[in-house]
């Protein structure tokens, strides 16, 4: 018993019913063959990275199933290839790590990656923080200088004023 995963892109121009019907046909096909369907991932409408058949978006579906008979994969791929509603497909056999990953993903355990990303972001913010602190200190220094200059100016003016008074 091996676990497989077939991902296919359905033409988005079709109506919702037709899109669902395509999914149903392959679901039924797999069920008739006696496979155990583990999970169906409906990734929904996504932007394509490059146009396929003059379409810029597509509806992604991913069916995960267990199967004994290897020859059935050929049949499935042939019917996918002949189906005009399907723009692209890819069948992959999963190793034990892949099976585990998909299980974890379904249970929402794939937050570990996000944590790593958070760490990276934290690093960036840390690096930016001292820069800000430096700026603040710079500003303080400038302020101090300004204040000092004002004081000296005031002192000079006081001196001159006192000198004038003396002259009078």
């Amino acid at each position: 018993m091996r676990q497989y995963e077939v991902t296919f892109i359905v033409d988005p121009v079709l109506s919702d019913e037709e899109i669902k019907a395509t999914l149903e046909t392959y679901k039924d096909m797999l069920k008739n063959e006696g496979c155990e369907i583990v999970h169906i991932d409906e990734m929904g409408l996504r932007q394509l990275a490059y146009p396929i058949k003059r379409r810029n978006s597509g509806v992604y579906y991913c069916i995960e199933f267990k199967l004994d008979a290897l020859a059935f994969i050929d049949k499935l791929e042939l019917s996918l290839r002949r189906d005009e509603r399907v723009m692209r497909f890819l069948t992959v056999s999963l190793d034990k790590y892949g099976v585990k990953y998909n299980e974890d993903k379904r249970n929402g355990l794939i937050g570990k990656k996000k944590k790593e990303e958070d760490k990276k972001e934290d690093g960036e913010t840390k690096s930016s923080r001292p820069a800000k602190a430096k700026k603040a200190t710079d500003e303080k220094e400038v302020l101090k200088k300004v204040v000092a200059a004002k004081e000296t100016l005031a002192a000079v003016s006081d001196d001159s004023a006192s000198a004038e008074q003396e002259e009078e």
Partner: protein
């Protein structure tokens, strides 16, 4: 004349240093690379959508091979482009 505490380094001391590269899959225990996750795969690809060499990413050979295959799968499914400009 500025005090000696201000002038610590005339040149940036981190410039000449080597940063240790490591394989992130080995370090964080990632065993499977998902080809349906283009955001993750984007880290191993340059702006033109080409695969980055191991020399730069620091991956071990085992996981570099897996990345290469999953990037190619993602390209087939139009999740990553075959060729572009300004991907990042």
């Amino acid at each position: 004349m500025a005090s000696r505490d201000d002038i610590k380094f005339l040149s940036n001391p981190t410039i000449g240093q080597k940063r240790d590269k490591y394989c992130r899959f080995k370090r964080f225990g990632i065993k499977y690379i998902d080809y349906k996750d283009p955001d993750f795969l984007l880290q191993f690809v340059n702006e033109q959508g080409k695969l980055l060499p191991r020399r730069i990413t620091g991956n071990s050979l085992k996981y570099q091979r897996k990345i290469a295959s999953s990037v190619k799968r993602a390209r087939h499914l139009a999740m990553l482009p075959y060729l572009t400009d300004q991907l990042k």
